[in-house]
Symmetry: C2
Subunit: 225 residues, 2 copies
Amino acid sequence: MASTTVPTICKDLDGDDRWLAVHKRFVQECKEKDPEVMFIGDCVLESLQFTDFWNSHFVPLHCLNFSIRNDRTQNVLWRLQNGELENVRPRVIVLHVGTNNIGDSAEEVAEGVLAIVATIRSKLAGVYVVIPTLLPRGHQPNPLRDKNAAVNGLLKERCAGMDKVQIVAVDGGLIQSDGTISHHDMFDYLNLTNVGSKKVFEPVWDLLHQILTENEKERDLTPSE
Amino acid sequence: MASTTVPTICKDLDGDDRWLAVHKRFVQECKEKDPEVMFIGDCVLESLQFTDFWNSHFVPLHCLNFSIRNDRTQNVLWRLQNGELENVRPRVIVLHVGTNNIGDSAEEVAEGVLAIVATIRSKLAGVYVVIPTLLPRGHQPNPLRDKNAAVNGLLKERCAGMDKVQIVAVDGGLIQSDGTISHHDMFDYLNLTNVGSKKVFEPVWDLLHQILTENEKERDLTPSE
């Protein structure tokens, strides 16, 4: 079994126990809050919550963001199997993880993501899972961009036909004609600026809006409510 | 010689060459921009630039922010000796680095910071160096908080009497009465939220404002200008 699919607690290599403290807070937030949408993943989603686009577009949808900077698929898997999906009934989960699985093959990373999807399904049967494609990274073309593209291709294949699982292609517009990524979009060539966030996450917001509105319409069909 | 004081390029362990790409961009920005203030350091200053307080208070002072997430003292030292202080004449440099020197002693971290101050002095003789104390970290009390406090104590001693070097105590108010740090101040118990940034960096802004205004007053004393 690939290590990407084995739930793994993040070791406290620093010595201040931050990862576990953040996880425990997420578990507590599940008891206190009632999110419609949950963002779960890594640095890309973590930094998203400090952007203007998050505040203007995602906050009004009642979103919780359970993302930790360096997480790999196995760490997210551990978190979700240890309380971060308890006591909540979100309608949608947005998942971005895998770009930090530096040492793993595209096949292994895709398996890791699919293991997370399976865990979400087992905990929250009816929830919609939205998977923005892994973003390109690095100022210049490099092997990690190629691997992330390969992961995206594999996920697209394997999620095709799955009920309530939607891959959203979000990397359009980041890579410039000369192959570089601008720091105006990604300040460190990994995480998004305000400008980049709007560019990348607008299609995700569109889909969320559509999913949440469709549910409203279904409700409207029941006049007795 | 402690490794903290030896200029060290950050190895491209990921495989996408991001660190060097960011450094090269900083060197380029020195040629294009004319900052009054430069922020140089690690994750704490990197995340600061995405806060409301940065936009409302530091941007109007004409600040450049040359901070990279995981940098240790030796990495900042390398950057400053390889172009990030060329072609610029800032009046003040704000330096926060050392919290990522996990494996080094407080004495070694302090030496690293002092080596950076010496490099700044050798490149920009008249510049004011402002050093906010290393922030506490971790949700609960832990050895890294103690070490950062020890670094702060050493720096306070050794910088006493240095011309145009000012340590600013900035950790007041982060540690609550039960010893914990709130995620409202530090979302990951290392980096600051909007709320935490205001709390921590207001004294830094006050000092910058004072330094920049004093210079203005000195100018005003020269009627021939």
